[in-house]
């Protein structure tokens, strides 16, 4: 029987590797250093029943250091519980481990997070654009991407054409 996940249980079982554990709107939140990611997620999956990978995204805290916060969401279909993992990565080296070895669905979501924020997922060797197109320069959801900058694939027509 897999134990239902609670803040106390996570703190007790995972110890220091889980980083800060708290509860936010009924959702478990783990704020941890990026080196602990793979270890903690694989234990969440096997010991606490978080069998569903919901999403990975990032937050650009422009002006802060480290600049980016990568956020994962998981769901437990046996306990109907959700968990969020947050870790900070610096702008100079925005690398976190890929979760594709644990969850197949991470492939596409990591590709999206990579193109939108420039986060590199170490271990995912197919980080081609998925929503954007080949040749797009920059990462449009970063705060320093100019809001109105376009990168058209078709040359704009001139009047009378």
């Amino acid at each position: 029987m897999i134990a239902p996940p609670t803040v106390e249980l996570l703190r007790e079982r995972l110890g220091a590797s889980a980083g800060e554990v708290s509860l936010s709107h009924g959702m478990l939140v783990l704020t941890l250093p990026s080196v602990e990611l793979i270890g903690v997620v694989s234990r969440l999956k096997t010991e606490f029943g978080f069998d569903m990978f919901l999403d990975v995204t990032a937050v650009d805290w422009a002006g802060q250091a480290p600049r980016f916060e990568v956020v994962w969401h998981f769901y437990s279909t046996s306990h109907f519980a959700r968990a969020r993992i947050k870790t900070r990565v610096p702008e100079a080296d925005p690398v976190v481990d890929s979760l594709t070895s644990l969850y197949g669905s991470a492939h596409f979501m990591e590709r999206e997070c990579h193109e939108m924020y420039g986060i590199v997922f170490h271990g995912n060797n197919d980080l081609r654009p998925i929503l954007l197109y080949e040749g797009f320069v920059g990462h449009p959801l970063r705060k320093d991407y100019p809001k109105t900058q376009e990168q058209p694939l078709v040359p704009y027509r001139t009047e009378g054409a």
């Binding site: 929503l131 449009p140 809001k147 109105t148 376009e150 694939l153 078709v154 704009y156 027509r157």
Partner: protein, 171 residues
């Protein structure tokens, strides 16, 4: 040349007889073309719902001879761009437009196709007229069916009044 026949050539474009024939021919062809618009719906977003509403029985664009959507651009002559066009999709739209035979008209259906609407960002084309020429713009987010019908009627008026070269540039 047989002196009894009247050659229709651009060189004779100034003669009253040529102008009479040419005008009557334009009226006839324009009348025929305005009631046989075959739309190609290039439907990308939520305006599609309004397109369905205007196509189906309560509003019924069939009354204007613009009912039968052809799902091949090669069989159609009215390109209705319904919804947001992204930069990634722009080459597809251009290719569809280039496959249509002359004569052809383009309708920008809704705010997004007209100007990009509220999508002023890295992803959306701010108006399809940056890529292809547009004959008529339909405002609204989404447009009311009455607006679309009004646009079709205005386009029909323009088709009826315009010059329709068939053989040469002047005739």
């Amino acid at each position: 040349m047989d002196p009894k026949t009247f050659p229709i050539r651009a060189a004779n474009a100034r003669t009253p007889a040529f102008e009479y024939f040419s005008t009557k021919k334009d009226e006839l062809v324009g009348w025929a073309r305005k009631f046989s618009l075959f739309p190609y719906p290039f439907v990308t977003a939520c305006c599609a719902m309004e397109f369905m509403a205007v196509s189906s029985s309560p509003y019924d664009t069939d009354r204007f001879g613009a009912a039968l959507p052809r799902f091949s651009p090669r069989q159609s002559d009215l390109l209705m761009v319904v919804g947001t066009v992204t930069h990634k999709q722009a080459p597809v739209l251009l290719r569809v437009y280039e496959q249509m035979c002359e004569p052809k008209w383009v309708m920008a259906f809704g705010a997004c196709a007209t100007s990009g609407g509220f999508y002023q960002n890295y992803a959306a084309v701010a108006g399809i007229d940056k890529i292809i020429p547009v004959d008529i713009y339909v405002p609204g987010c989404p447009p009311r069916p009455e607006t679309v019908i009004d646009a079709i009627m205005k386009l029909q008026d323009r088709i009826a009044r315009s010059h329709h070269p068939i053989i040469t540039g002047t005739f």
